[in-house]
């Protein structure tokens, strides 16, 4: 293993279509290269972990995929790949394609936000874990082992609110970071020592403020009626959440951020920046800045940069007109190409004795089934990596008694991630017939 040299650092370079990191270099990101005593997989102050940690990435879009070109007609192994899956051809044995899975939910655009949770936000109150999404459920178990318990990226908005994929236990949507520059700064922009002192002082101030306003809230409770008190509970929960956040950030403030090895990216537009966001996710996983990431491909994914002037949502209501379908497929194909490129990247990164892809479960799909008909059934679902046996198209029943909840897959994912639980959302168990070696 070579120590990092200036020549190697020069080899990290940013192209307009994204980062290019050559395979063998990455193994050389040793503890020394990463900075004072921090190694991959370590708690601040602890020794490097012997086994590599598990990671999870979830990618979703707003309008699903054109089903005739997404779902293969054959099931089992070595199935013929329809046009939208062609970009994934080199990875056919690295992923499993599922058909027939969904959350049994209706609502068209107003239900897609349940993609990672299985519960619509309006129904969250009646569920014991609210409408927590699978990524946030996993993030709850990180406990400060990484600087960021999870990273939520992608479009903030979109039609009827956009994807809105990530939800906390208390029913709030986790707002995503939407640009490469912002994400880069979060991951790599380091504080110097005076900044660190200043940060510490800021944390002290915030803690002091939180104490004061907590007292105000308690005093206020006495003056309110029942309904208002319930509402004020949100404030108390928020206080606790922020206090936890601050405690974590204090802990991490003295740990230097890893070197990026690449210059700060410029923001162009969401479509052109998509590969850059994927690359930053890979870098974030690789530097153990986080082990969980989600990416929402929502409202600012537009056709303009791909030379398509019609509105994406309009095209998704293709009405079987071939020219609409052709344009729609161009937009969807681009998303598949970028996803395939991400899998390439993860596969090319060494992570202990396996590849990063082997240790990362990558879920790809949408909360929208058939956008033309606004259905949320038979969702497009791909699961790659994570150490599962892959290569199959697994088709589950689309009607009748034997329907299988998509949450069963999520439960399987959570257990693979190391979460000790036997249920998630409306799961009836883990996904039968699918599991780790």
């Amino acid at each position: 293993m070579k120590a990092p040299t200036p020549e190697m650092n020069r080899r990290f370079f940013l192209r307009t279509t994204g980062l290019t990191l050559a395979l063998p270099l990455l193994e050389s990101l040793t503890p020394r290269a990463l900075g004072n005593g921090l190694a991959l997989g370590a708690q601040p102050g602890n020794a490097i972990a012997a086994t590599r940690p598990r990671r999870m990435v979830c990618v979703g879009n707003m309008l699903g995929f054109y089903q005739p070109e997404f779902f293969p007609t054959q099931t089992g192994r070595n199935y013929a790949l329809p046009s939208l899956l062609q970009p994934l051809a080199p990875h056919q044995n690295d992923f499993t394609l599922f058909s027939g899975l969904d959350h049994g939910i209706k609502g068209g655009h107003f239900a897609i936000h349940s993609f990672l949770s299985g519960i619509r936000s309006m129904d969250a109150k009646s569920m014991p874990e609210g409408n927590i999404s699978v990524d946030q459920r996993a993030a709850e178990t990180i406990g400060g082992a990484t600087r960021f318990s999870s990273l939520t990226l992608g479009s903030q908005e979109g039609l009827h609110g956009g994807c809105m994929m990530c939800w906390t236990r208390s029913g709030t949507r986790v707002p995503p970071i939407s640009t490469p520059k912002e994400l880069f700064r979060k991951l790599f922009a380091s504080d110097n020592s005076s900044d660190i002192a200043r940060s510490s002082d800021q944390f002290d101030l915030k803690s002091s403020i939180l104490d004061a306003v907590h007292g105000d809230a308690k005093s206020l409770t006495r003056q309110l009626g029942n309904r208002d008190r319930e509402k004020l509970d949100e404030y108390f929960t928020s206080l606790r959440d922020v206090e936890k956040q601050i405690a974590l950030r204090r802990q991490w403030a003295h740990v230097p951020k890893p070197p990026a090895g690449i210059p700060e990216p410029k923001n162009t537009n969401f479509v052109s920046d998509l590969p850059v966001l994927y690359d930053l996710i890979a870098l974030a996983l690789q530097t153990d800045s986080t082990r969980i990431a989600t990416l929402e491909i929502g409202g600012d994914f537009v056709g303009g940069p791909l030379g398509i002037s019609r509105d994406y949502h309009s095209l998704s209501h293709h009405g079987q007109a071939q020219d609409n379908i052709d344009d729609l497929l161009k937009l969807e194909h681009y998303q598949m190409v970028q996803f395939a490129r991400f899998l390439d990247k993860l596969k090319s990164i060494q992570d202990g004795d396996r590849s990063l892809l082997d240790h990362t479960q990558v879920l790809f799909g949408s909360g929208m089934g058939n956008a033309n008909a606004h259905t949320n059934s038979n969702l497009p679902i791909i699961l790659a990596g994570g150490g599962f046996p892959h290569g199959e198209h697994r088709a589950y029943p689309t009607e009748g008694y034997d329907r299988v909840p998509l949450s069963n897959l999520y439960l399987t994912m959570l257990q693979q991630f190391g979460v000790e639980t036997d249920r998630f959302s409306v799961s009836s168990g883990t996904l039968r017939g699918f599991g780790s070696v």
Partner: protein, 837 residues
Amino acid sequence: MVARPLRILFLFLLASLLGGASTRAQEQIEAPPFALPEAIQQFLADYCVTCHGPKKQKGERRLDGLSLPVEDHETLLTVQEIIDVLTLGDMPPEEAKVRPPESAVPDIIAHLTQLASAGHERLVSTGGESVLRRLNRREYLNTIGDLFDLNMTMFDPTMSFPRDQTSEHMDNIGDALRTSGHLLAQYLDAADHVVEKALGATRPPPEQTWHFNDNFAQQPELRYAHTRVHDNQFMVLYEGAESVRHEGGYGPILAFAAGVPADGYYEIRVKAEALNRVHPYDPKIFHSDPAQPFRLGIVPGQALVGPLHEPQPIQPQLGEVVVNDGPPAWYTFRVWLDRGFTPRFTFPNGALSIRDTYGKVLRLYNDQFPAEVRDTQGIVQLRAVVMRHGFLPQLRLHEIAIRGPLDALWPTASQQRILGDHACDLPGIRKTLTTFATRAYRRPVQSDEVDRLMQVVTTRIAAGHSPAQALMDGIKAALCSPAFLYLVEPVDAAAPSRELDAYALASRLSYFLWSSMPDEALFAAAADGSLLEPAVLAQHTRRLLASSRADTFVHSFTDAWLNLRNLGDMAPDRSTFPDYYARNLEQSMKQETRLFTRDLLDRNESIIRFLDADYTFANRDLAQLYDQPDAIPGAAAHQFHRLNFPDPRRGGLLGQASVLTVSANGVETSPVTRGVWLLENILGSPPAPPPDDVPAIDPDIRGAKSIREILIKHRDTPACFECHRKIDPPGFALESFDPIGRWRTHYRKNVPIETEGELFNGTAFTDVVGLKRLLLERKDQFAHMFVDRLMTYACGRRMEAIDRAAIDAILHSTAASDYPLADLVAQVALSQPFRTN
């Protein structure tokens, strides 16, 4: 699109308001509510329970124990499912031996729908009480501005706040607005920014001047051409703000990229010249209006945020002047700039996209160019050639002189307002915080609250900070307190009437009409309790309404009621509707509706004008959209004038481009979308959403069929027809307007538009004029919907059955004068729901 998560069909409301007789075939049977559950249970027992009951549970559904009326979510979902399958004819299945008579099914669907809507109301009810309501983003922003006397033109501490949750399109509904850890973290950061900005200045900024008359490099794309053609001796603007490629739409002074050194007013003098307004080319190449004199604008920019020649998130219009043809002349602006912001010049009525024009101009007018350049290729050379030899319409800025900050106050306005002249010792700090918190919490602060703020102060001093800094930190804490962030309405357990105390009432009134904290006069009326007297309340209501600050009421209310907040979400296709971008129509059409509403308010005119009017307010670009190209002369192009309509096709909301655009999807129109919009926002009777499994019908815009023919299925299927006979006809009448509101008589391929139809009660119309006349007959229904919306917005909660009496009272007292708008607002403020929790 209608955003209704659950079905709400106010059948009874509709039926009772219609009043008149209707043909039996089309009218729902009004069954008395108490009989419904039994009729339904009987139906289920007869036709459903065999397969969905104790013996068999097909599809895992069991219907024999259904508990009616609907009181929980589970039952509501089941009832909706039954409605869906019956409507689509999915149940009973083909092979069922026992089937209900065809005529019985619509009645059962109607009964079930009514149970569902009543159940839904019950489930979302807040018991007619406002739930603790936090300030939304815009209210927070306005309040900060007022609290600190801060100029908020380009300062937005809420930029990273999560989006506000809405209910019925309203963004100020207490139980819908949520607080989260994310938001609270933002509040902490925002408090820091605000206080440091408002109070952190330590010395008065000296007035400075800057002068630029050369080296006007603007952006990389123009560098080659501008250097070669005129050596950067002046700044040149070519295009408006809406181009895609941005070349010469935003002109920064790159030498001044760091911006001004201090917040304040700045005088900006520009020696500007308008060139080639009259040019030899087809105006369509530029998509600009040659009759309009050029206008020069200023927006701020920050180098830190991104390239200065491109749009930025914060770029309010700071000033605009008309630059007449002729030699260069001096123009003076006086604009506010924050520290770090630099002025950028714009050309609001410039070309749509200059980059596309170089090649076109050279190609189409080739012989007007010198022989040696006629074959020029490549954008870099094309620019230079056409700039040098052509006659591109453009604004040239030869000299720019900036001076400021002008007459800067010291201490600053904010510092004077907040810090006063108390000493900076602990007792002095306590006094300052007491005064501040009283204003911030909108009622006298309690001593334990001040104690907690002082605790922050003393902790900071102990950590080594100066008393002045510690005071600022105490103020930050107040900005994160629930007493500031929420509109608190304390409950007096002893008083069953739940009347608001004077302070809570002052806040409610102020946020209703000004979306901000009470001003001094209103606060004083709360302090001495006089605000609780109806006469005083009425007087303050009128006072607030009369102020220009009530514009925020007009903006926010129309954003919510007419869903104009979403104008631009489904942006019109650029190639089909270039004028939408070239002429800044989105901005103008929103402004039109706001001015129209403001005018009704100022003149206390009837809200019936929303249904039909013979005038509107338009600038020249809008007038052209409305087929009155010469109504507003070029010289007055950008001003809004009253525009009279010679015929009744336009006039009222149904003829306003904002409404027509927000109810289309930017590419094509849909009678269903517009029909739903009308039912929802004009008649207040939104239809139930369609069953989820209905395949979407995508109009075929290439073919020879009209949308009417494609939607024939809505009429052929009885279950669909039930709702669509209400939805489609108004939508067909509105087909006369294209996706951005232009009048049309034919679709593409000369397919004529058929606009005739019948309202749900059988009354017929032939076009939008007839539709409006019929709507005028329903003016009481419109007024009812309008008052409901006003009350919802004013009280920050959804209206419920319990509020019916108050709404009716307002309607009765204003019906005779046809519901004048200002009177309605005043009555809302005096109503019982407004004055109680």
